[in-house]
Structures are given as C-alpha cells and as structure tokens.
C-alpha cells in the first residue's frame, strides 16, 4: 500500500528512515554496551568495582553530538513540512465535508461524490469542513493528514503520481463508527477523470465498474 506515490512521499520517507537509521545505531550501541558490560563485569568475574565519578569531556561529547544530529532531523522534518504547506496555485480544488461517519467531496463544477476521484499528476487542494465534531482527513499512501475541525477551514494538498485506489481514513476519533468512516481516493488518468467529472451520476456506476 505504501509503495504508491504522491508528491512529498519521498521527503517524508527520507526524514523517517534517516531518523530511524540514527535511532537504530544508538539503540544497538547502548544495548550492546549494556550487555557487554553485564557479562564482562559480572560480579563473579569482576568482584571489585572501580569508582569512576564521571568524565566532563565525555559528557560534553554525548551532549553535543546528539544535539547536532537532532538539529539535522529537525531540518529534514521542517523542509518536508514546508513542501506540504505550500499549495500550488494551479491546484484543482475539492471541498471536503466530514460528518459522523462519512466523507463527501464536492468539485468545482458542483459534482458531489462519496469517493474521491482525482486525476493523476495534478495537484489537488482539499478544503476541509466538518458538520459536527473533529475528524481528520488521512491518506496514508500520500502521507497526507489534516484535522477537520468544525468552524475552522483547514486546507491541505497532494499530487498523486500513480493511478490506483488508496484508502482514506478518519484519523481523529469521532465516536461510534469512527473506524467505518472510510472511503477511497481513486487516481485516474486525466482523460478518464474529465469524462467522469462531466458525466451524470447514472453513468458513473457503470464507469467505476470498468476501472
């Protein structure tokens, strides 16, 4: 499911695996040292402990190195976030309405759909409205998530780069059927999308069956 691409998948995944790699390094280092010391200095082999009160250069070293590393992590996270928050001017606009427990997507020509159909390789801006409580618009495959809050219009965007259909979840707990507030985003070739957008509802079912 996560192979599918959108515009900023790369930068999110890079930041993620960069931090994971550093984390695994430190985890293995700490755990390895711990296990090594436990065996090497076990009371049987090493009955007399040596008192070492500390070492200031070492303290400085293991304060400064992690600080530098986390600043890099911060930087990658921030750059990815900037990309996410800069919505391209030429985006297609879809107005999303969330309510307990369903999604509804309205297109600029007035077309309304329960499933989100979008053209491939074109930025899509979503304007998020809630009719009742907090929800969160989440497409894992595109690394897109934004809370949908009543009385506040949040926006987000994505550019799907591969044809296919991917889950849309509600990620903010919203009551009884929170886990069933599920639908799909269907990414289509531009031409098919335009046909869908301009056909009337009766023919849509027919169309989706063919996809």
């Amino acid at each position: 499911m996560l192979i599918a691409q959108s515009e900023f998948v790369k930068s999110v995944d890079f930041a993620f695996f960069f931090i994971i790699a550093i984390s695994v390094f430190f985890l293995v280092l700490i755990t390895g040292l711990m296990i090594y010391f436990v065996f090497k200095y076990s009371r049987k082999k090493h009955p007399k402990a040596e008192n070492i009160h500390g070492n200031v250069p070492l303290e400085i070293l293991w304060t400064v190195i992690p600080t530098i590393l986390v600043l890099f992590m911060f930087y990658f996270g921030w750059m990815g976030y900037k990309e996410m928050s800069k919505i391209p001017e030429d985006s297609m606009v879809v107005t999303v309405t969330a309510q307990m427990w369903k999604w509804s997507f309205k297109y600029e020509n007035g077309r309304i759909s329960d499933t989100l159909y979008v053209p491939v390789n074109r930025p899509v801006k979503v304007i998020l409205n809630s009719l009742d409580v907090n929800h969160s618009f989440y497409i894992p495959a595109f690394r897109v998530k934004k809370d949908v809050i009543p009385g506040k219009q949040n926006t987000s965007w994505f550019k799907a780069t591969e044809v296919g259909s991917y889950p849309i979840f509600c990620a903010e707990y919203c009551g009884l059927n929170h886990s069933y507030m599920y639908n799909e985003v269907v990414v289509m070739p531009e031409n098919n999308f335009i046909t869908w957008l301009t056909t009337d509802v009766g023919q849509v079912n027919n169309f989706t069956n063919q996809k």
Partner: protein, 552 residues
Amino acid sequence: MLKDTTIISTNGHTSFLDYQGKYKGIRSWIFSTDHKRIGILYLIALLSFFAVGVTFGFLIRLELFTQGKTIVDPQTYNAFFTLHGVIMIFLFVIPGLPAVFGNFFLPILIGAKDVAFPRINLLSWWLYIIGGVLVIVSILLPGGPADTGWTFYIPYSVRTSTNVIFTGLAAFILGFSSILTGINFVTTIHRLRAPGMDWFKMPLFSWALYATAWIQVLATPIIGITLLLIVVERVLGVGLFDPALGGDPILYQHLFWIYSHPAVYIMIVPAMGVVSEIIPVFARRTIFGYKFIAFSSIAIALLGSLVWAHHMFSAGMSSTAQFVFSLLTFLVAIPSAIKVFNWTATLYKGSIQLDPPMLYALAFIFLFSIGGLTGVVQGALSVDIHLTDTSFIVAHFHYVMFGGTGFGIFAALHYWLPKMFGRMYNLKTAKVGFWFLFVGFNTLYFPLFVMGWLGMPRRYYDYLPEYAIYHQISTVGSWILITGLIIIYYNLIKSLRSGEKITARNIWGGETLEWQIETPPTHENFHDIPKITHGPYEYKMNDELAEKEEVK
C-alpha cells in the same frame, strides 16, 4: 526543627507496621498520617486500579484479534479504550512512583521523620480515592461510561450522551491530589533534609521527585482551570471551546496538552530516578555523572513544559508555531539521552549482579530508549503528519509509559518491597515473571510501530485486512504479558503472606539512608537524625565487599 533530635518517640523501636497511633485496625491505616502507611495505602489502591486497567487493555486487544466484531460492539469498545486510558493515566501512572515510593522513601532518603505536611498527605490520598471511585461510578451509572478517549476532545465530548461529566470531575479531583503531593514534596526537600545533606548529596530519586513535584504544582492547575471553563461554558452558555457556541475547539486542545504533556514527564522522571538508584547498587560503584543526571531532570521539567503543541501538528497552527514546537521537541530529547549514556557508563568497571531490580532497570533503559527514539521520529514535522493518530503513537507512548514508567514501578517494587515489609520474595519466580513481561511487552507493542507506519489509525474498532497480521501478533503478545503480570503479582503477594522474614538492614548493599535503618522501618524512621558527610553512592568499602564475596 530537625536539629532538635533530643525528642525521641517513645515508640521509636516499633515497626511502622505495628505502630497504630490513636486508631486501631483499618482506621489506623486510612486515618494514618505516617508517610510510610500512606505510601502503602497508595500502593494497594494503585495496584488494584492497575489490574482494572490491564483488564480493559486485555479486552481491547481481544476485540482486535479478528476483523469485525470479536467480543463486543463498537460502543463498548470505545468505552474500553477510554476507561483503559483514564484509569492507567490518572489513577496509575501519574500518581505511580511519587505517591507510593516517593511517600514511603523520600523522607527516609533525605533523613527526615515524615513529609512536611503529613495531614495534607493523607488528604491527597483521600482525594485520590474519591477520584478513583468517581471513575468507577461513571462506569456503573445509566448513560454508560465515557466514550471520548482520555483526551475528552471537544466538541465530541459535549455531544456524547455518556457520563463524561463524572469522568471529568474525577480528573479534576485527582488533579488536586497530585498538586498537594507536589507541594508536600517540594517543601519536604527544601526544609527537611538532614544536617549535612546539601543538594548534591541527595540521592537521585529525590532529585527526580523534586523536578516532578514542580511540574505537578505548576502544570496541574491548568487542567483544573480547563475543566472549570467547560463548566462555565455549559452552565452560562459562554462560547469558549464549543464551535456551536462560537468557541474554539483548538483552544481546548492547547489547554489540555499544556497540562497533559508535562504530565508525561510527571510519569517518567520519577522512574528515571528509580533507575538512577538501582544501577549503582547492583553495579556496586558510584554513579557516573551525578550532577549531569540531577540537572537533566530539571532540564526535562523545564523544556518538557514548552513542547505541548507537538500533539497538534495536524490540527492547523501557524508555521512559526510548528517550527518552534518541533525544534523544542527535539531539544527535550537531549537531557533524556544524557541520562541513558550516564546509566550505561555506570555499568563500566562495575561489579554487576543481575537481581530482579537490576533486570527491570536495564530493561527500562532498553525500552525507554526505543520509546524515546521513536518520540524523536515524531518530532520531525513532515513525519509526524503521517504518524500522528496512528498506532505508531500508541506503540511509542506505551514504550515510554509502560516500558519506562511501568518497568520503573516494577523495578522499585522488587527493590524496595522487602525493605517495606521485612519479607523477601522468591528471586527465581521474580525473574521468570520478568521475562514473560519483557517478551510479552515487545510482542504486544512492537507490531504497532510497523502497522502505524503503514497507516493504521488509532482508536479503531475495525481494520482493513492488510493490518490483520500485526493485530494478531499484538494480541498474542498481550496474553504473554498478562501471564507475566500474574506471576509477578502472585510472587509479590505470596512474599507478603509467607515470604522469608528478613531483618537485615541492607539486603542489596545500597548506601542510601533507607538501608541504614531497621527492616521494616520503625515508626519515625530514625532514632537519631543522621549527620550526612558524603554523597549517596561512594562505595569506598569496595575492597571489603570484594573480600567478603571471596569468602563466600
């Protein structure tokens, strides 16, 4: 006050377990102002609530074992995870170490006869019990238990017809219990240290409790005020949080996390203190970097109060706010890292014995490191957008709260329980219990990381087929974990009833003050208040200890 050591209690030689004061029987416990008895009252209540919380956790995992309905309907499931969260957080992890072991051992560790305000101490236990009872009442009353999650996010929490009011009131009362304990500890540490015990001769558990107490005093009132504002909104119809009245639900989230994020440090910092006590004792050497560990507790308390909005990166804040909160989140990782490095260095050239408390302490370092490092993963803004509100978060905070604080509490239990009751538990059974808990824990929570990265949202009753395998492994893990808990409970309770009686003062070879007084401690701890001349973990007698070991 304390310099006046000529006043020796006439009951100075009676164990606190026998000294009843002016009441008899049960009343000698529930109206006792003795810090040790109050600590034990908390211990009993806490372990009971923990058992209830674990039961709800077990039921959550059981429901998620198969897709669709396994045992209950969605409404019941939603109540399960709400109760699990409320009970675990407000009734177990937050009071946790300070209320039980802080109460029992803080005065002893700093050479005092009791806390500064013993009656307020008893009051805070009573408030805690009233809060706990309210939570239980909210389950039983018509309307049904709250189904909002422990975060009570508005507007859902004002729409639901369940008993949110009772649960909110419980949180309000429990908050005061926490504040009173905090005030008590700050005052105790400032005023009641034994002569000669300057700040840098204090055991590190006291430092941790000191940092924690300040957070309790400064942060907890905010949740109280927030809950009061909700009452104002409901009763007077002033729009504060509810968009239907013109309020702002994001404001509620800010206020909630301004308390609840520092609360995370209320939960973890004391456990760090316990680990700092245990490692030098079982490595039989002085702690590495005492001052760095002590000050990192304070640094965590300060920085940890300024990162709350990282819970809300997907809610829509200004870019400036996102920038600052993400940066500070990364920085709060540094003092935790410093602690981990210093603990590891304390093992170097030690003389290490893997008794149960040490096993728990080392497991703490491992599990807390995973919890901390995955916290760093979520500090990165772009990554957090993907991971927030998924099971990755659930795994992360269980690694910190259970792998960290939970294991810290079990470490403390195995370390101090023999001292408290003068009874020894079975060491072998304790180790078996530990390994079940450790293996079960990782089997239960690690799959949640993978599944969260793959997009599985949290608080879901049902899931898509691609997540099924992770859910199933996780549920099997919960069974292993609970087996471990049953072994641990059985072993500890059995030790109190029929364990080997001990009177030796220093069973582990510790150098802090609790190991110099009787086992179990006498009514007012010390016959004469000790004069402190050196730090808590000097281990100057290592040559003798090594010789003794050879004679054995």
